[in-house]
Assembly symmetry: C2
Homo-oligomer: 501 residues x 2
């Protein structure tokens, strides 16, 4: 029995390794398409990607895969890694296998057309163009939930793809508390006399100088350039092919000092997570970050909690002043306020640390209601604008800067958005524990020593890859379940000081 | 019958398309490894490449492939494209299938170890380290020829992999004539009073300036940057993923103006060939250059016949002088002589246009004798040095700059070298016809109009992809079989003028 098991496990691992080679090949082709591809090559690259993804899909849904899943499901007392491998394989298998094949094909085409329709709609700022596609995408997702099944709330099933185990019940609680706290804080800030000066950041900064400084910061953070590289692309992203090739991109604006810098710190957080995955997990499908939410907790932790802290800039600001004459005569406190300015705005991707979560909560509330049939697609522009007015006090002038701004719904990625805000909550919970474990944390940051932070994250989070679900991870690390109180306390404390509340 | 045929052909094409997707994916991963990969990622990338190549190999040697080959082999009167598709598929199939599987595996491992041994041997300049591997590689190739069969000369079978249809009989004739002609010309040049001045080329040139000028030249040549890109790598190369993504690389030396420039023109010649392949051939396995020799004819044509002509520099030299103050006061004739200096040397890759072919002929003579059992591996260093002394008048001081300089034998690529010299012969034959078709050819070049040349090459050569074998192609285009007289005449004419002979 033991011998048979070992052989089977070896075969299973070999099989998953192949699947990972394929997925990573897809990722290389994709990276190249975003970073370096010549214009005319895009259609053929699409064909290549389609073929390789199709092959990966075949491996994921093959009879062989089914046999592995069935075999290991019949065995009790699997070790954590094997158990998680089987569960992840099963999830991938069932995600498509439970859907009738013709339905799934129809949906794939719809999702692809939906993207094109969304693009046109956004360009023309006309929701009507996108509406019929969105209606069908929502209908399909509701139908699929019928095949997949659900326990308490239909939307839970979709959430589970991005944040395994999270539920509407939990999110309603933490997002509700967070929303109320932010709205209250935001109103106080609006009445504050403090008006941060952001003009210095809008002067002219050369790409080369920005790149050099971003690399300097990434080095100190502990991003390993021998296992990664920094490139330019339209939108910043992190992508990895195993743990030894974790690449990040950014986009430089010559009239904006903050954009590329903080996107590099953000993507650097994602990348350090992937670089710290242990070699043993590579090839098991568990050798990557466990969920979107935990991933965002790492990127936002570095970007906001560390990267927008006063201690961080006590160390880096002298270097900024040395490299950029644009900040001559600007004291550190003014710089610090400038990178933490709160400005309720219409566009999620341009939002500040405080208001960002509100953008997400609005999308969460809408998605949840859509999937549960409580609102209709045709009412979205109106509902969207109402919520922006209520929570953020701003109102979109048109669909493009309102309901059409994000591409996520265009290919049916419902359930994805909440991860962004979850990242903030997880991050603050981790911070609370980290400070207890390392009382000198902020002194370290002030001295430009970010190694202890990286090690703590590695030991507590990164080294587990995808072995444990987010809920177990957060409990194991912090001793508490997911909650909003630490992030709310962090926000209140930080912004009260900045805005003299 | 016709309907059954059409369905089968459609299936065959679908099958080949998949194989091409895989091969092109391998190529993207390979390009990235040479141009952009982080250091620590190399081993895993090797695994990914191994997996994808293995999948491509499976498709090439599958029973399905065998069925296609058998089916179409039974049909007379196939159109040229289909016939060529079947032939190329059969060749790939038989190349490995005729070898017993365990032999082939053994050989693959040997080839891989051979590379490592060669690297060490070259580093230590000690042929003894590489000798046992080379002996086995030669023995395997001789054994394989037994499985593959041969008609007149055993070495023909190896040649056929790189230059389909070429034979020892033909090569002995053309290479013999070429060797004698070059040696005679070389001796005259040695006695000439003309001593080109190469000092200006060795001043300091910034990478940025070199790159900008190379791009300028490539643009005028007609290399399409919307279907390609120029990058840096240790050794220059061209690689393509279809006809819309044809990438070239170069290597910049700050103390050498000629190296990057002429390597760009050379690789540009390869790349224009691939960019000009018609869309209809993509996905058929015929949508690429037909042979190594024809490919080299394109690159060498651009690099030497065009790129080192006086007319080319009548157009470009003013631009050089504008961009590079290093050439201040240097007249065009001096520049022209400098880029055409003849210097017999030890290293093939650094050879000038005239002596380059001698380096190749030496390798050809050695390979031919090795495969036919006329010489032994252990005698190679001695034979090598003797031939260099005889043909080029130079003698290697050690194995590294002698018999160990090229990596080609380390993985068993016997039969590859001749293509380099064949390219010179083909190119001059094409030139002869081109001048007849376009009497204003050199006037065009002088005016910086290189479009007619590109169009002529496209119409006569590029548009056929791999449909016709080299021998048919050269006959169809020039009306003559492969011969050495045009290249010899070209060399005599050119160097007599330069060296006042």
């Amino acid at each position: 029995m033991r011998e048979g098991y070992d052989i089977k496990l070896g075969e299973f691992k070999e099989y998953l390794k192949k699947l990972e080679y394929l997925n990573n090949s897809v990722a290389v082709l994709y990276w190249d398409m975003r970073v370096g591809i010549p214009k005319k090559a895009i259609p053929y690259r699409g064909e290549m990607l389609g073929y390789l993804s199709g092959e990966a899909y075949k491996l994921q849904t093959s009879d062989t895969m089914k046999e592995f899943i069935d075999y290991f499901s019949g065995i009790e007392e699997l070790d954590d890694v094997t158990k998680s491998m089987v569960e992840s394989a099963r999830k991938n298998y069932e995600q498509t296998k439970k859907i009738p094949e013709d339905k799934y094909k129809e949906y794939t085409i719809l999702a692809s057309n939906g993207e094109a329709a969304w693009e046109e709609a956004k360009e023309k700022s006309d929701f009507e163009i996108f509406k019929p596609y969105l209606e069908k995408l929502v209908a399909f997702n509701k139908e699929f939930i019928g095949y997949w099944g659900f326990k308490e709330n239909k939307y839970d099933t979709l959430l589970d793809f991005y944040e395994p185990g999270i539920t509407v019940k939990e999110l309603d609680k933490v997002f509700g508390e967070l929303r109320d706290a932010i709205v209250t804080l935001l109103n106080k800030i609006k009445n504050s006399d403090v008006k941060p000066n952001v003009e210095p950041f809008k002067k002219n900064f050369s790409k080369e100088d920005q790149e050099a400084f971003s690399k300097h910061v990434l080095n100190i953070m502990g991003y390993d350039f021998e296992a990664g590289r920094l490139d330019e692309s339209t939108h910043p992203f992190t992508i990895n092919f195993g743990n030894k090739d974790v690449r990040i991109t950014t986009h430089y604006y010559d009239n904006d000092f903050r954009s590329a810098l903080f996107s590099c710190i953000h993507e650097g957080g994602h990348a350090i997570y992937e670089q710290n995955i242990p070699d043993e997990l590579i090839g098991t499908m568990l050798g990557t970050g466990v969920s979107m939410g935990i991933h965002e907790s790492q990127s936002r932790f570095y970007e906001n909690i560390i990267g927008r802290s006063i201690e961080f800039w006590k160390y880096f600001y002298p270097e900024v002043q040395k490299r950029f004459s644009q900040f001559e005569g600007i004291p550190l406190t003014e710089f610090y306020r400038g990178i933490n300015v709160v400005e309720p705005s219409l566009i999620r991707t341009e939002a500040d640390e405080l208001t960002y979560s509100l953008h997400i909560i609005i999308r969460y509330e809408i998605e949840k209601a859509l999937i549960n049939g409580e609102i209709k697609v045709e009412d979205l522009p109106h509902i969207w604008n109402e919520k922006y007015k209520e929570y953020l006090g701003v109102e979109p002038g048109n669909d493009a800067e309102g309901v059409l701004q994000d591409m996520h719904w265009s290919d049916g990625s419902f359930g994805y958005f909440p991860s962004y805000a979850l990242g903030n909550l997880y991050g603050a919970q981790f911070l609370n524990k980290m400070v207890k474990d390392m009382p000198d944390l902020y002194k370290d940051i002030e001295n430009g020593n970010l190694n202890n932070i990286r090690e703590w994250l590695k030991e507590n989070i990164h080294k587990h890859g995808s072995v444990y679900k987010p809920a177990k991870l957060i409990k194991d690390v912090t001793g508490e379940e997911l909650n909003a109180k630490y992030f709310i306390a962090y926000l209140n404390d930080k912004y009260s000081k900045i805005y003299n509340l």
